[in-house]
Subunit: 426 residues, 2 copies
């Protein structure tokens, strides 16, 4: 199974491919400059296509019938998983793709809940009719993670033993626990083998966890802008973010009423995280040292710079949709993520259960999950004779590129999935 | 004056020099491996030398007799500048070197205040008898910046008009204001022309401000790990740090009593800043994912990782010695720092007043002030026919390298100063 790898420079991106497998990749993205312009305006990019119709998705709930065992040794009863699907499951079940979301994502990955909704799902540019993950061909599932605050059981849920919200009595969960809950959902949907599991950032960690924990339940996987372990720098940023929440008197050790959450602390945490999602280049290009609606410094501590106003806006939006306690639990899950930690630091051994084929994608300016970490993953997979394609997409968008570079990323993923489906059928 | 530049690789560092000027630079640092080991143990490194004697420095105060005009249009009355000196001023005044400190520094740059003091000044490894900036040869001056909290007038000082602390009624100051106050001190000390002005990080900004504002008052300048402007990413980190302080209920819009400062918020701000002072490499080498005094995860939100414990310690130490309001004012001064902002973005024009010779130093893993920013400075100086030496020191320590890479940096600075003094005398 092990084949030599080739390194190919194709215009604006470098692809390292297993020879012979993925000819379809070697094409130049079209319409790139127009797309870039679009990206600068919106974080959630929508690509208009001729085929676009009002595309409605419906949130659903699955209550896991048995208690869910957790890595910490405790178990959770009456776990609910909020999920959405798009497309139709093929009669032979060969077209199911699970999407795993990042820290602040949710189950609403594509389409709209109602025709008049202003915003579509968070990866709508990638998923839908005619999109790179084409719901005319594939059956797409996305669920809110365990510990989240968008429908799935998390610290804000009611503890059936007490009748009161868990808050900080919720057990500390891991990425493996999130994936364990997802597996229950996939079983419930009657899917024996997923065509692929796809996700970026923390979604990519779930993807890797799937590949290791349920190797026979998937034909392929696509970890994007991620790593096999959270770095000390990543852990450090999470620590400071949680300290900022703790410093907010409204946090009350997690026992805040829903109507008065620790908004200032959570906003500061989000602003900090947001800086790490952008590159110095993208911040310089987008904001520079531009002032916000003024010509000279105000010599005070309110907004002077556009970048300050932007961050404040990001923080304010976030606290309207996200729960501070969930932020604690989800960030802790990522801190604990370390595949090789289970095998004494031996990543090759940690990845030895993997059977599915991989497409690993990194972005050149991503300093939160640098390309070097993806390379370590690729090397360890290759040493396990896993069929791997690897691409570092040149992009100035930093970590956020996995949401913004839809054109380049979409072509990669589209061709990879098409190939995997052929193999699956074959 | 403009000469061709040569690029020379000398073992572990690259020097770009004006040919013929600085032969003394091309020497390999000795004892490097031992020094490195030492650096890992302590942030403030002390190099033992045979010449070392108890070296005592004394804090002094200079009250500026006239009101100090500020860039914001206001003026400050009864400004005090806390400063220290070391060495003897030469009869012809040709050996005076001003050191400018970084954000959290102070006037106590070298030596001890009493023989039993546990810690020496913050750059003691660089300055003292027999050190790279040798106080047997040079007269060294360092003052606490305007806006600071270590003796110089700042937001914690009493407003002579009200008899109460300024707190947030203190005027917003700039790096140029800091330098303006330093110039009053230098005049008071009877120094017509400094041999050099030296500083790293925010100290480097003051150095650049000196070179532009008082070109005839200095023979040379050494900006280290700095830039001609604060980048949007730098501004963003400052914004979040101040938001974390604001989220602390003890801040009270700056009107906190000295005995109950916003310690949690200030600690979070410091921890955040501290992450930016280290490189991913140095964090990985120093901490990795090591656990703190345990073998397995605790599945809670207290310390699990060594890096968390370290950050918490850094935050706790900082709040014992630093004032939250000063943190507001000093970070705002750095936000506003933009030399080219005064000349419509034209850095070459902004630097046109410069007459002194420069040694510009950057560190390869410094992502807060990347080498590219130093290169822009060097290019703009060269286009002004300024005599410039530039060195990027290869180091894994990130921004903190300017405090830690004393061996490499010390040799550069020692030789540069020796050469400048010869020229000064000549």
């Amino acid at each position: 199974m092990s084949r030599p790898v080739a390194k190919v420079r194709v215009r604006s991106y470098i692809i390292r491919i297993q020879t012979g497998n993925v000819d379809g990749f070697i094409r130049r993205p079209a319409g790139l400059s127009r797309f870039r312009h679009c990206c600068r305006q919106h974080r959630r990019v929508e690509i208009s296509t001729d085929t676009q119709q009002p595309f409605i998705t419906v949130p659903r709930d699955f209550k896991i019938p048995e208690p869910l065992p957790l890595d910490c040794g405790r178990e959770l009863k009456e776990v609910n998983i909020r999920y959405e699907t798009a497309g139709e499951l093929a009669p032979d079940g060969s077209n199911a793709i699970l999407i795993a979301h990042a820290l602040s994502g949710d189950a609403h990955v594509c389409g709209r809940h109602a025709p008049g909704d202003r915003k579509p799902g968070w990866w709508d540019a990638m998923i839908g009719p005619g999109r790179p993950i084409d719901t005319n061909r594939y059956f797409v599932i996305c669920s809110n993670v365990l510990g989240g605050c968008s429908g799935s059981t998390g610290p804000g849920s009611v503890d059936p033993d007490t009748g009161r919200p868990y808050n900080m009595s919720f057990p500390v969960i891991t990425v493996r626990d999130m994936v364990r809950a997802q597996k229950r959902l996939i079983d419930h949907l009657g899917i024996r083998k997923l065509l692929s599991v796809v996700g970026g950032s923390m979604g990519g960690m779930q993807v890797l966890e799937w590949a290791v924990s349920y190797p026979e339940a998937m034909a392929s996987f696509v970890p994007i802008a991620t790593a096999c372990q959270f770095s000390p720098q990543n852990i450090a940023f999470d620590w400071v973010a949680r300290e900022a929440i703790k410093a907010d008197p409204n946090w009350k050790n997690g026992d805040y009423p829903p109507e008065s959450p620790p908004s200032k602390g959570l906003a500061a945490a989000r602003m900090l995280a947001h800086i790490t999602y952008l590159s110095e280049e993208s911040m310089s290009r987008k904001f520079g040292r531009n002032l916000q609606d003024k010509d000279t410094y105000d010599f005070d501590f309110d907004f002077d710079f556009a970048v300050e106003s932007y961050l404040q806006y990001q923080g304010r939006c976030f606290v309207e949709r996200f729960d501070a306690n969930s932020y604690f639990y989800i960030t802790r899950a990522t801190d604990y993520f370390d595949l090789a930690g289970r095998t004494g630091g031996d990543l090759v051994a940690a990845l030895s259960p993997v059977r599915a084929a991989a497409l690993v994608v990194a972005f050149s300016s991503d300093w939160l999950f640098p390309t070097a970490q993806s390379r370590r993953l690729v090397d360890a997979l290759l040493r396990n004779r896993v069929q791997v394609s690897f691409c570092e997409i040149e992009s100035g968008y930093g970590h956020d590129a996995f949401l913004l570079e839809v054109d380049k990323l979409g072509r990669m993923v589209r061709d990879f999935l098409a190939h995997q489906r052929e193999v699956f059928h074959g």
